[in-house]
Symmetry: C2
Subunit: 256 residues, 2 copies
C-alpha cells in the first residue's frame, strides 16, 4: 500500500485523485488545497485540508500545482526527509526544497476537466535522486495502469516542449483548417477522419516516412494554387509558407 | 449495378479499385493505365488496357490521375456524352472536356500504398452538373460505405487546402517534435498517446474549445523557457513563434 497526500486541486490533481482512489494499493490519506471550497465535493470520501501544518505522514507528497508555486510550497512544508514529487514538465527536480527526498512524476498527456482519462494512455515520466524513491513513484504509476519511463530533467523539458508542438500547435492547425473551410461554407467535419488517420499513421510509422503532399513532392503548381487561396489571410499564408519550407528542409527539397 | 472504368494506377486508383471490387453492386469492367505493367498483377481479375480506343461503354469513367493530366486526358477520350469524373481536390469540374457529362468524386483522406483503408472513414465530396450524374456518384460512394457530401469546386479547393494543414503540416509538427526529443535522447514514443488524444479531442469539440497550453493562457515564463531551448534550431523556433502568435490571435491574447 502506497500512502499519498495530494497537494493542489487543478485538472491534473483531480484526475490523479480519481485514478488513485480507484487503484487497489494506493491510499489517498489527505488532499490539500489553499482554497478548501474547491475540495468540498470530495469531503465525504477523503480528508481535505488547507493547513500545511495538518499534513499527516505519508509515503509521498504529490504536488500538482502551478510551476511557479512549486519552489516556495516545498520550502513551506513543515517536515523533512520525506518523498516530495512535483508533476510539472518544465520545472527541475532541484527546485524542490533540498530538505526533502525529491522526485518528479510527470504525466505526459493533455488533461481537460470533463473528459474521462484512461491512464493506460498517460505515460508517466519519472525522475528521482534515490533508487528507493524512484521505485515508489514507479509503483504508483503502475498501480494506475500507466506506462512509465525514467526521464531526466533535460529530457523532460524537451518532452514538454515537444508536447506543445504535437498538442497545442497541432490543435491550432486544426483551428486554421476550420477557418479556411468556413470561409467557403464547407464543413470542417469532413476533415475529421483525416485528422484521426494522420495521428494514427505515426503510431506505427515515423513522421518522416508518413509524410506526403505537395510540399514533399515539390508540386509547385498545387502550392501556387494554395497560396493564391490564402492571399486574403496573410497569417494563414505565413503558416503555409513556413511549414512548407520546414517539410522541404526535412525532405531535402528546394525552397518555394 | 454501376459499371465503372478506372483510369490511372496510383494509390487512389488502387484503393478505389479494391473497394469497388469488394462492393456488391459495382462492376469494374476495365482498368486503364498508359503503362500496362503497373496493372499486370490484376490482369486475372479485371480487364486491363492501355489503349483509350479500347474502352468499353460504362456508367462512369473515373479518372484517378495527376492533376495536370486531367484536362488533356478527358479531351482524348474517344467518346462523348458519357459520365466522366475526376478524383482531384484542386481541379475544377470544368477542366473536364465539355463533350462529356462531368463530375467530381473526391475522397478526402490520405492514401498510402500499404495501409488498408476502411472507406467508412473516407468522406467523398461529390460534384456534378446534372442531378442524374450526381446520384450515380453518390450511389457509388454509398456502395463502398463512404459518407458523402455535395461540395462545389470552391468548397472542394478549400477542403483540399485545409487537408494540407491537418495532414501534411500536422505531420511535420510531429516530425519537429521527433527532432526535439531526439536532441536530448528522449523517446518520441512517449508523445504518441498525446498525438492520438489531440486528434480524438476535436472529433467532438471544436479546435477553438479544445485549445490549452502556454500560448493560450499567455504563460510567458513557460514560453520563454521553450524559446530558450530552441535557440540553436532557429527554424524550429520560427515555427514556435508563428504558431504561438496564431493561437494568441485566435484567443485574443497579446503577442509574445
Amino acid at each position: 500500500m502506497i500512502s499519498v497526500v495530494i497537494i493542489g486541486a487543478g485538472n491534473v490533481a483531480t484526475h490523479l485523485y480519481r485514478a488513485f482512489k480507484a487503484a487497489e494499493n494506493i491510499s489517498v490519506i489527505q488532499w490539500y488545497n489553499r482554497n478548501l471550497d474547491t475540495l468540498k465535493p470530495y469531503a465525504k470520501e477523503v480528508e481535505i485540508v488547507n493547513d500545511l501544518s495538518a499534513l499527516k505522514e505519508a509515503d509521498l507528497y504529490l504536488l500538482a500545482v502551478s510551476d511557479d508555486a512549486i519552489k516556495s510550497l516545498t520550502n513551506k512544508l513543515p517536515f523533512e526527509n520525506r518523498l516530495v514529487a512535483h508533476t510539472s514538465g518544465s520545472v527541475g527536480i532541484y527546485d524542490i526544497d533540498k530538505k526533502h527526498k525529491r522526485g518528479v512524476f510527470y504525466p505526459l498527456q493533455s488533461f481537460s476537466k470533463a473528459a474521462k482519462l484512461d491512464f493506460a494512455n498517460v505515460p508517466i515520466c519519472i525522475e528521482a535522486l534515490e533508487s528507493k524513491d524512484y521505485h515508489v513513484l514507479k509503483n504508483l504509476a503502475i498501480s494506475i495502469g500507466s506506462p512509465t519511463k525514467k526521464v531526466n530533467t533535460d529530457q523532460r523539458r524537451v518532452l514538454h516542449l515537444a508536447a506543445v508542438f504535437v498538442n497545442n500547435f497541432t490543435n491550432q492547425l486544426y483551428r486554421v483548417a476550420h477557418e479556411i473551410t468556413e470561409s467557403e461554407g464547407a464543413e470542417f467535419d469532413l476533415l475529421k477522419p483525416l485528422i484521426l488517420e494522420t495521428a494514427k499513421k505515426v503510431q506505427d510509422l515515423s513522421p518522416y516516412k508518413a509524410q506526403t503532399g505537395p510540399a514533399k513532392r515539390n508540386d509547385k503548381k498545387t502550392m501556387r494554387k494554395h497560396l493564391k487561396l490564402l492571399n486574403e489571410t496573410p497569417h494563414h499564408k505565413a503558416i503555409y509558407e513556413l511549414l512548407t519550407e520546414s517539410i522541404q528542409r526535412t525532405h531535402g527539397r528546394k525552397k518555394l
